[in-house]
Symmetry: C2
Subunit: 323 residues, 2 copies
């Protein structure tokens, strides 16, 4: 950074919506700097107004293009839109794959759009470290809707669902059999389903298949709300406004049913737990050469199991596990 | 269970290779039962001989079929083969998607093959809870090679790499642009690359593209070993023996370079940390209504941030974080 700005001064600038201040605060959140903690706590208390939407889907579903179109639709309604794109970056070199500008196409430079890519390297779960703090930053800065975009199947989806108010799962017609299996696995995490590539001839079949699967699975899993399936075509700009309407309706549904507060609290508790686990991780790294050295040597000799070593790690920092 | 067997009696039966005993012990490992801990510790100390191979790849890559063929090739060399398939199961209903028998085709009933599907529900990382203990069980039971098969991109891959001695990434020709982006992200995690669907005309192009990318990326990331790219065709049974040979060579490479012990120790440390984090999670759940109730109420009122709440959670169970 050219001129270091104290974090608490940055807070005011972030709340005023200054783009450079937002960018710097996001970098500090991503780096997990201890100095930024107080500032992020301030921003957390100023946040809570934005609608946080997780958007996920299997590779090849055209999700990134759809996100750009959807962001443009949010802009059209006069709202400010923030996009946090989680990149499947290398766990070793940490390189991020897609540029923010390439990702968002024509709306990349718009003053009411803020796009940020974050790498998953080093995080405890499927989300990048600092993702949820980044949501707070954009929320406090006045962004009305915030997308968290992830690529993947598996843990990433589960984490994004647990961080968002509304989850959109994007699938595409004709991606082969494996996709069906995955769809079955992540069927229930969606509050709204989008079927992309709606211009393809197989799209209608994909929509009705998805609807049949939902009709079968959701009531059995105790879901009461019908989950909409929206057919979209990014090149033709079709279904985008309908998709946004479905997302907005879900926000309404959460508010009127009282589920919004339930979901927010579960997000907060999960964040707390993740933060505590991160501390444990940091403590271990800090004491690796010191207090933990004996346990590590025993572990290396194979004389104790990782489970036993874990209980010693906890005991070293003051936790006695009774069971 | 029809007749409950004490865990320590089961240990002897597992070591003797009794299939029903193995199946029961795997269930206990997956359930995370406290009663099974001592037994699993015993098995951990008896384990350490098997070659653990992580096999991962994007959806649509034909990975499951390839795994079945590869397992058959291991059998042909006179070795016993265990397969742990991580299913992208629903985080809510927990249903597993593919049956074990369907998955393995013709070798499903072979006495030297043991196949087990595990669901990712409720785990802290991308792997299912108990996956690494399941590896110990099969290892102690005398399985020479153990595959951990995951579907996914993102955190799942990273976790499987950190649990395996050798990691195989399966890609398929012609799966679209997103695949390229992901491939770039997970390029460096592979010790061996497999390009499936080698009967397709685009397969040779995919192999040479992958080789070019590796030539570019690996030296820059400080890798010294050349990573083989093997073209396979499951229906034609081509490239399968070559893939197994490349996996065996990597095991040799680890042993002769001294990296095998380094990798084993990093797996052990990671397991320890995960186990400690699981304890933290369990402690939180246990004290949710009791000791933690005040913190949870403050969190719900928005008067403290999740970060602050995390420090209180840790303090409640005896950890003071100085920073």
């Amino acid at each position: 950074m050219a001129e270091p700005i104290p974090s608490l001064e940055l807070v005011e600038r972030v709340i005023a919506g200054e783009r450079r201040a937002i960018a710097r605060m996001l970098s500090r959140a991503e780096a997990g700097l201890a100095e930024a903690r107080e500032a992020l706590d301030h921003l957390y208390r100023r946040a809570g107004r934005a609608h946080v939407v997780g958007i996920t889907g299997v590779p090849g579903s055209g999700k990134s293009t759809l996100v750009a179109k959807l962001a443009a639709a949010v802009l059209d309604t006069g709202r400010k839109i923030g996009v946090i794109a989680i990149d499947p970056s290398s766990p070793f070199s940490g390189g991020s794959i897609l540029g923010d500008r390439i990702r968002m196409g024509e709306i990349a430079g718009h003053p009411s759009v803020f796009v940020r890519s974050m790498a998953t390297r080093g995080a405890l779960g499927g989300l990048a470290r600092g993702t949820l703090e980044a949501v707070d930053v954009l929320d406090a800065a006045g962004y009305d809707m915030i997308f968290i975009e992830t690529v993947g199947v598996g843990q990433d989806e589960v984490d994004v669902v647990r961080a968002a108010h509304t989850t959109v799962v994007v699938s595409a017609p004709g991606l082969g059999d494996d996709i069906q299996a995955i769809k079955a696995g992540i069927l229930e995490i969606a509050d709204v389903h989008a079927v992309s590539k709606g211009d393809k001839p197989e799209a209608d079949k994909a929509v009705s298949e998805l609807q049949s699967m939902l009709a079968l699975v959701l009531p059995a899993a105790g879901f009461k709300r019908a989950v909409p399936v929206i057919k979209t075509s990014s090149p033709r700009n079709e279904g985008i406004a309908e998709l946004l309407a479905a997302i907005d309706e879900h926000r309404e549904y959460l508010a009127t049913s009282g589920l919004y507060e339930v979901r927010r609290q579960s997000i907060r508790e999960r964040r707390m737990l993740k933060a505590a686990q991160q501390v444990l991780h940091d403590e271990f790294e800090r004491h690796r050469e010191g207090r933990m050295a004996g346990v590590i040597a025993e572990l290396a000799a194979g004389s104790i199991s990782p489970q036993t070593a874990a209980r010693r790690l906890l005991a070293h920092i003051g936790i006695e596990v009774k069971r």
